[in-house]
Subunit: 407 residues, 2 copies
Amino acid sequence: MTDVPPSKWLVSVDDHIIEPPRVWLDRLPSKYHDVAPRMVRRGKEEVWLYEDKAVPTSGLSVAAGKRKEEFSPDPVTFDEMRPGAYDPAERVRDMDRAGILASVNFPSFPRFCGQVFWEAKDKELALLCVRAYNDWMVEEWCGTAPGRLIPLAIIPLWDPRLAAAELERVKAKGVNAFAFSENPEPLGLPTIHDPNGYWDPVMQAANDLEMVVCMHVGSSSTMPQISTQAPHLASLTWGANRTSGAMLTWLFSSYLQDLPNLKICLSEGNIGWIPYFLERAEQVLDKQRHWAVTGAMKSYTANFGYPDQGKIKEADPMRLDVRATFRDHIYGCFIDDVAGIRCLDLIGEDNVMVETDYPHSDTTWPNSIEHLSKLVGHLPEQTQYKIRRGNAERLFQFTAVEPAGAA
Amino acid sequence: MTDVPPSKWLVSVDDHIIEPPRVWLDRLPSKYHDVAPRMVRRGKEEVWLYEDKAVPTSGLSVAAGKRKEEFSPDPVTFDEMRPGAYDPAERVRDMDRAGILASVNFPSFPRFCGQVFWEAKDKELALLCVRAYNDWMVEEWCGTAPGRLIPLAIIPLWDPRLAAAELERVKAKGVNAFAFSENPEPLGLPTIHDPNGYWDPVMQAANDLEMVVCMHVGSSSTMPQISTQAPHLASLTWGANRTSGAMLTWLFSSYLQDLPNLKICLSEGNIGWIPYFLERAEQVLDKQRHWAVTGAMKSYTANFGYPDQGKIKEADPMRLDVRATFRDHIYGCFIDDVAGIRCLDLIGEDNVMVETDYPHSDTTWPNSIEHLSKLVGHLPEQTQYKIRRGNAERLFQFTAVEPAGAA
């Protein structure tokens, strides 16, 4: 247990669950037990089997507590990871140790926004799997520690009406947030600018039910590559690209212009790049919007060999206010980001939260609260409070429960 | 003429030339006059003809002096642009008006690093065209105003030995910088990590001759697209992605580890994103380099479906120092970047320069010096001097000539 008193602990808006083996078996009819997601041992490995997929757990996903020389992307088994990765009671003990008051967790086997169920052949089963995951998340994971473990749902990405219904179903169980893709296009799904408004039912429901749209970096199932020969460490460093693209495509979307209660959260994207891209968005809008609304766009697209987009759903650039749209709709979070904190006023202190990324290799655990103090300890007390806890409680609509009798 | 005295003017390390019609016709044997680059009138348009290409000038490239409502990507003719776009004496008058002491200019018809000659069928002619451009740059463009217009060469990208020879040839004429691609792969050229060291002769020559490798944003002939349906203004805002990728791939390259005098300049990439990516590079290196040098990389690449890279040329991660490598080798520049200036110490005040992007649509002309003062006027005088002028003079190895009898 950290020496910091619980009243000074942080809320982490991005951590990760390694699903325990029976999440789906416990909830699906037995006729599905040989195709539903299930954990089996194969030689020295443990893998998730689901339809024709066999997926091990990467060591980078369960690096918490290991030295840098000890973890790698090589597959690991449950024996080799901290129980806090998959057991909610153990998780809370690990949170206590690092000064983590509350935690929002993303899925692992389903991937960051449930892509694995969208890729499944049997969509009837996949829908049951989505619901089973959400029920497990609410009842077992968060049910273990209300006010400490905060629920995040997944949706059936292949059917926006079913997805809206699932949002309504889990909202009634106290869920205020769900995972979405930073970029649905590489998944083979329509974008948020789809002329036919594919995502309208989902975003309308998110607006009406006040559920946060959480987009984790990597939820497009893409890894940036600077070039096919770029060193992997260089491309890994480039990862927040996906998040900056997500922020910009939403900033210029019609959804944020049309749906006043819609909030998006850029999960594990860090924040140090936000000031530049907000400033740049203002400049581009100021200088280029005049021709962008005229027929001159044809010269632009022809010049770069772009296909005609048709009539996409996008913000009216003549009435788009970049700063106001960001302030009212977009939230970022950081793990370790001196540059972002330096420019906090250029982002907005009401729009920034912290995360600990437990148990991934980037985690600050077990020194999360001390680490945060080093990063933000020089800021005014009220600003620290917002970043540490207040903004997350407001956005995810909960009040964190401080453990009694702790330090 | 600005009221600011010339001793307080700025050096711009990124501006643009619209080549006058006879750059190549004046220098190539007459047998090439019907295939070499030449400007012709076609109805209302003026286009460059070269082999089977016909290329007009985009209005965004010559927006200087126009109101935002007046310019667009629609093609324009010489009559519709300021003479300063193509005439060196007129350019100097425009520079005087905006407080621009000296200016480094990139090509337009050849594209930012001479891609058009690499794409040409007749490589013998293309080589003559490269040389003709460089001769024109030195003799006519910069010859008009020594110490005001600073030369930048292009190279025959298709033959690194010829390219090294061209560097040697133009170095003897006083050229200290050349244009290179931010990412040669989309051009169909080997990357800087090519296992066979395709670019070795060029980078060795750049190192030995102390010639700056200038990589203009867009010199990969790519335009970022967040998705095929993302609003173009969003994707335009995302443009510096290409530059951040270039910075990172070089940071992790073997060239900067092996060639002590090699300097790279990230032209028109702005700087506000640099602090974040430097910090992130340090984090990734610190946490992930241990497994990156072992066989565990195979699990990583397999997990993401990456093809095997083979033995690429890359920095040894165990002895890579991100901050020192940046400080000793990498330079950035900005047009209008509050976030970048706020974090100047995280970048390094010796590595930042200013640009005016004349005559492109992003230009600060005719208020360049006043604009810069607003951005950096609060900094110590010595820091302002470095950004305004000193760093550029040092990197490009020249002493700017202040106009006599000016304000």
